[in-house]
């Protein structure tokens, strides 16, 4: 029986292998570029070198990296607080507006970010407040795409929480706050970590939303990388890219100690 299906299974495996190669190769190439000596990586490879790292770990790149990290941290925290509050209320509410509100809070993910970015700049210039452009405005804007992620992951966590448990705590004499913090909050924690992590990554790596909201003095890392890439090519950028990816991996690694990330991956990115 298995003989009959060989060609189909073989074709599928070959296609799958090609897709995997397609996904992995650019990432491998970036890492390889950062640790080899040539401006244009040679084939066959010509050796190893760390020469490009000297110009990568300078103020020029470390400042945008720090700014991106600050903006991502602040916007993830804002999204965490507001998203968790909304997810809790939505999971307990029985109102008709529930689905509509969930949909509304998720629309920024469905519509092109470049449009939101231009709209925010227009609003700012209309209020004659272009001076606001910089990290606070980036935080405010990035929070909007962080909220749907937190809403989703905390919502997933809350599905497993029976409202009766909190009531039981109340009946046993706990104050509403105490019942919430000692019963529901610990059970939401996994979703909160996952949501905050997704929001952080979305902000840290964001291009389109930040497009019109950065300045020469306050540039996020992805925008600065993009501006360089458009006009010149240098392996230094590979080193910067590798550094930022390692940073995200470290943060994801720490966060995964507190949450089962795979549980949220479908829900978190949809």
């Amino acid at each position: 029986m298995t003989m009959r299906f060989r060609p189909w299974i073989l074709l599928r495996s070959v296609l799958l292998a090609l897709v995997m190669l397609f996904i992995a190769v650019p990432m491998v190439v970036v890492v390889w570029t950062s640790i080899q000596p040539d401006t244009y990586p040679a084939f066959p490879p010509s050796g190893l070198s760390l020469r490009w790292w000297d110009s990568a770990l300078t103020r020029e790149w470390l400042l945008p990296m720090a700014l991106s990290a600050q903006v991502a941290l602040a916007s993830a925290l804002c999204a965490l607080v507001m998203g968790t509050a909304a997810a809790y209320a939505l999971s307990r509410g029985r109102g008709r507006g529930r689905g509509a509100l969930e949909g509304f809070l998720a629309t920024p993910l469905l519509l092109p970010e470049i449009v939101i970015s231009l709209g925010v700049v227009q609003l700012i210039s209309m209020l004659s407040a272009r001076g606001l452009i910089g990290s606070p405005l980036l935080v405010v804007t990035h929070t909007v795409i962080g909220i749907p992620f937190v809403l989703r992951t905390v919502g997933v966590s809350l599905l497993g929480v029976n409202p009766l448990w909190e009531r039981a705590a109340r009946d046993l004499g706990a104050t509403p706050l105490r019942a919430f913090t000692s019963v529901t909050l610990p059970l939401m924690r996994s979703g909160m970590f996952a949501g905050a992590l997704f929001a952080f990554i979305m902000s840290f790596n964001n291009v389109e939303l930040s497009l019109f909201l950065t300045t020469r003095d306050a540039n996020t890392l992805p925008i600065q990388l993009l501006q360089y890439m458009e006009y010149e090519y240098s392996p230094t950028l590979a080193c910067v890219a590798v550094t930022s990816v390692l940073g995200i991996c470290a943060i994801a690694g720490i966060a995964s100690r507190f949450t089962h990330l795979t549980e949220f991956i479908h829900g978190g990115t949809k």
């Binding site: 990432m27 190439v29 509050a85 519509l111 092109p112 231009l118 929070t143 990554i201």
Partner: protein, 298 residues
Amino acid sequence: MTTSLTATPPRPPVPAPARKRSRLPLLTLPATVWVLAVFAVPTMILLASSVLTYDGAKVTTHLTLEHYTDLFGDSYFRSVLWDTIWTSVVVGLACTAMGLLVAHFLVRSRSRLRTLVLLIVVSPLVSSVVVRTYGWLVLLQDDGLLNKILLWAGVTDAPVAFIGTWFAVIVGLVHVLLPFAVFTAMSSVQGVDPALERASRDLGAGPVRTFFRITLPLIRPGLISGFMLTFAISLGAFATAAVLGGGRVQTLATLVRYRVVVSLEWGQAAAVAVVILVVSAITVSALLWAGNQSRKGI
């Protein structure tokens, strides 16, 4: 936490003895206000400013449709619009097909390679679009790795110019959007009862026939929403087109940036942005509707 408690259904009606007005909905207020202020209001302003005249970068109160008549009267803009739409369709279709292939394997296979495949699929998400685009730049430029490999293998005599072509932009966009397509396809394949596929096989259908007659019709709504998602994102995607397009490929998104940063035509920029917004909003709602219809048909 006893088993009897965890076994209760997720949301039993909670008796409310003291029918005090709940203040819970207030908790949704901060998020709602935030999204209104930073998403809804700017979008409205953008719509408004695309039909107002400008005095430099300052909006006036004169209504006008000239930004739109200028745009659609311009054959260059029409070709950019058309190019962006067909590219996004190609990207969406490629992502949906490749995503389904991977998702089907991830959900159905018991192979030991499953974890590895999942890891590879998730791995791009830790890096930004810019980083992945940089990888393609290293690969595809004239002195890039792909050309070096092609020359080394004797496939071509002279480097092939990939950068600055739609091919490069499409490849880059598919790479960026593939993880999203895989995840949406995964959740729909998970919704198909494997017993249905087994029954079809037991009744004598081959795996190919089972896939096209049983699995595919059942997951169509999921595939449609995957296509919708990737199409809508690639419509407004900027970084890939800007870098891999090498300044020669113009999409709606690069056109917006050009109008804002280089030619400072704010009204035109707003009008182009509104075109992006409208096309993606129409697609999203049309496909949502189609998804609902085909779900009803089953």
